[in-house]
């Protein structure tokens, strides 16, 4: 039992020095960030971390928070491992030990959901760049603000897109299939799809959840092939997205269109991994590199130079979230949580560095949801150099100039 005697002082000491060194430094505003930095969603977690670091570096170099005497933003990161308990513990640590002004995170809805509950209890603002589960902003919380669109908007837009495509090309879609990972995210999307399909009068010929840790997805693809749908909707993480896409191409599954839901299909390594197998696929995202938005090209070029890959929807939301925090701090002129909460609630952040978002302004409704968050749909095509490219096709007013959408996709 006497090990405790050593560990307790050691821990107290460790915690003490950590908080002491913060006081000794020059004026800083601490922001806690919870992200999955290891484990299966590490890939997106690291994107979010890098985008935040780039934004804060820019903010600090440009003189920090002017209304707070040029205070610098200091980012603290915690690895949630994608596990809710860890997320809760880390939120608590950020708030009570590190005394952060605001918390952001946590990508995995299952982590964000309970972590925001902690922030609400302490009355500290929690900004959610991306975590799509509807209910995150539907619990009457005052301190939770989400930048990304919520999942009912994602599914709604997928179906609107499909309706628009049918009108545009005069093609009739009668049957649909749903293939989704059996986590919280996939099953949440599937629930909405069922309602939407019913409302639109499509016949659901396959409704197939699969374990996202599956080592082989050939059985699912064989089943999909036999159900022979017009359109297949998919929700996948990175590994399963790669396996499904390759197998569907190999087994020559013929459908009019494949509509996917971001996530694994939007992962930067996905297109490089599957190559031509992803040709003609439609993916819904918040943002795309070919959007015609102010400052986008420069920011993307800088990001690519720093980290070696293009910005993603996740990264852009993370990047914008830092400018949102800067704006909020400037207006609140304090790091008091109440003042910050009030400033967040009255946000109207337009243009500037956040101009690269797909929409004009960040504004929150009463629930803390960014009411302007919008979604775009891209089509995957192989470019001249053989590299796969994501081309924005919907809504029609943002479609890349001169691009001809391929719908339905040619048979194999």
């Amino acid at each position: 039992m006497n090990l405790k005697k050593f560990i307790v002082p050691a821990m107290v000491l460790a915690m003490g020095t950590a908080s002491f060194s913060a006081y000794a430094a020059e004026k800083v505003v601490k922001i806690g960030n919870i992200l999955p930095l290891s484990g299966p969603s590490a890939s997106v977690g690291i994107q979010g971390k890098q985008a935040r670091e780039m934004a804060v570096d820019e903010i600090n170099k440009a003189g920090g928070i002017k209304s707070l005497g040029g205070a610098k933003i200091k980012l603290l990161f915690a690895d949630s491992k994608g596990d809710p308990t860890t997320g809760v513990t880390e939120t608590e640590r950020f708030i009570s030990t590190e005394k952060v002004s605001m918390v952001t995170g946590a990508w995995n809805s299952s982590v964000t959901y309970p972590s925001t509950q902690v922030a609400e209890r302490y009355g500290v603002p929690f900004v959610v760049p991306v975590s799509v589960r509807d209910t995150i902003t539907e619990r009457g919380f005052k301190n939770v603000f989400r930048i990304a669109a919520k999942d009912s908007w994602w599914t709604r837009d997928q179906f609107r897109f499909l309706a628009d495509m049918q009108k545009e090309f005069g093609v009739k879609v009668k049957t649909v299939a749903f293939v989704y990972e059996n986590g919280d995210w996939g099953t949440g999307f599937a629930e909405k799809w069922r309602e939407l399909a019913k409302a639109a009068g499509y016949k659901v010929v396959l409704d197939e959840p699969y374990p996202s840790t599956a080592s082989d997805l050939t059985p699912v693809v064989l089943k999909l092939k036999r159900s022979n749908p017009d359109v297949v909707f998919m929700t996948s993480n990175a590994a399963d997205a790669i396996l499904l896409t390759k197998t569907m191409n190999d087994l020559k599954v013929n459908v009019k269109a494949i509509v996917t839901s971001g996530g694994g299909h939007a992962d930067p390594s996905y297109l490089a991994a599957v190559g031509k197998s992803a040709e003609y696929l439609f993916d819904i995202v918040e943002w795309e590199t070919d959007l015609n938005r102010p400052g986008l090209k420069e920011t993307n070029a800088k990001f690519k130079k720093l980290y070696g890959y293009n910005l993603t929807g996740e990264a852009v939301d993370a990047y914008a979230s830092m400018y949102l925090l800067k704006d909020v701090l400037e207006r609140a002129k304090s790091t008091n949580p109440k003042a910050l909460q009030a400033a967040l609630a009255s946000t109207k952040l337009c243009g500037g560095k956040t101009g690269l978002l797909a929409y004009d302004c960040i504004q929150f409704d009463q629930t803390g949801q960014n009411k302007n968050a919008s979604l775009v749909i891209v089509q995957v095509r192989s470019g001249k150099d053989g590299k796969m490219e994501r081309i924005t096709v919907w809504p029609k007013n943002v479609r890349r100039a001169g691009y001809k959408v391929v719908f339905p996709q040619p048979g194999k």
């Binding site: 039992m1 006497n2 090990l3 405790k4 560990i7 821990m11 107290v12 460790a14 915690m15 930095l37 290891s38 590490a42 690291i46 971390k49 603290l76 990161f77 915690a78 690895d79 491992k81 596990d83 809710p84 308990t85 860890t86 809760v88 513990t89 880390e90 608590e92 640590r93 009570s96 030990t97 299952s110 959901y113 309970p114 509950q117 209890r121 059996n182 986590g183 919280d184 099953t187 949440g188 374990p211």
Partner: protein, 337 residues
């Protein structure tokens, strides 16, 4: 184990002192984060001590105990959410459900040896997790599959097993831990304990002496599962949100077994020592290294496992009790002198 088996006055005084310090700790430590770390250490010490009944004394290696944590959490929470039954009652119900499952799974598997038993328990736990993930609704209960269960925040309420401060959780789990350690102490001195000890080492020999080893192993399994499930309810009430992967995943099963082996299985204090080493190593490396290089903290965790097993294959309880005995002998001598 040794330093508690021949209980001398010095030992009693020491144990009382440690307990007094632990019970007084929340007066000095007010940071909820530190309290949370202690709560999780106690919780894991508790779960591992429960595991110890079968993993330590019955001489087999269960690697699927998170299944029983999950059964406890799901039973009490479903009862609470559906019928508003207090989690304190649901806790006992969860224990009974888990014990029943324990008997069901123990009956055929406990006669298996070593790796077969270990792998069978892994398969059972994973199978149960997949089952829960596939069930949306079970009779009147909304199981909600992979989406998991959320317990609504109602504020401080003993009946609802919810507290805004960490202090009540701290005392509840510390008391649960002390009780399970006392139970272990008496079990080791009971008929069941002796028979298990005999059967764990030489099952054939014990059977030849007419001891029905399998019967006592089953008893140990039922007790173990019952106690583990109580910890599950506590965990559910502590985090207020869980889903199959978070509460019945293999990571937790493995961690429980690691703590036991690192601390020293089939000893009373082994699980406590193990939890006090592994939990802080896991937490502190994650806190201080988790954001520097991805995965570095888990590399260190892995190295700690390897190093402890390399130099103390029987667990930390051996050297620690040796040091303590030396210390006690000195105190004893000085007292006499």
């Amino acid at each position: 184990m040794k330093f508690l088996s021949n209980v001398q006055t010095t030992h009693k005084v020491f144990a009382a002192l440690v307990l007094a310090v632990l019970y007084a700790l929340p007066i000095f430590i007010t940071s909820p984060v530190m309290l949370q770390i202690f709560i999780l250490i106690f919780l894991y010490a508790y779960l591992t001590s429960s595991w110890n009944f079968v993993g330590g004394f019955a001489g087999v290696l269960p690697l699927g105990h998170s299944a029983f944590v999950g059964l406890g959490a799901y039973t009490s929470t479903l009862l609470y959410l559906t019928y508003n039954i207090s989690p304190w009652i649901g806790m006992i119900a969860g224990g009974i459900v888990a014990a029943a499952f324990g008997l069901l799974i123990g009956l055929p598997t406990l006669k298996l040896r070593g790796a077969y038993f270990a792998l069978a328990t892994i398969a059972f736990a994973e199978g149960l997790r997949v089952l829960v993930e596939n069930v949306e609704k079970l009779g009147p209960f909304e199981v909600r599959g992979p989406k998991g269960l959320l317990i609504n925040l109602v504020g401080n309420s003993f009946k609802d097993f919810q507290f805004l401060s960490k202090v009540p959780y701290y005392y509840i789990i510390l008391t649960m831990l002390v009780l399970v350690l006392i139970l272990t102490f008496f079990m080791m001195r009971s008929k069941v304990g002796y028979y298990l000890a005999a059967g764990g080492e030489e099952p054939e020999a014990a059977e030849a002496l007419g001891i029905k080893v399998s019967k006592y192993k089953l008893i140990a399994m039922a007790i173990s599962c019952f106690l583990t499930a109580l910890g599950g309810t506590f965990y559910a009430q502590l985090v207020l949100y869980f889903y199959p992967k978070s509460i019945m995943g293999l990571d937790m099963s493995y961690e429980i077994a690691f703590i036991a082996l690192i601390g020293g299985r089939s000893t009373i204090m082994g699980p406590v020592l193990g939890a006090f080493l592994l939990r802080p190593v896991g937490e502190l490396t994650r806190i201080y290294l988790g954001d520097t290089l991805p995965g570095l903290h888990l590399i260190i965790f892995g190295l700690v496992l390897i190093i402890v097993m390399r130099y103390q294959p029987r667990g930390l309880v051996e050297p620690v009790s040796r040091w303590l005995n030396i210390l006690f002998d000195r105190i004893e001598k000085r007292r006499r002198a």
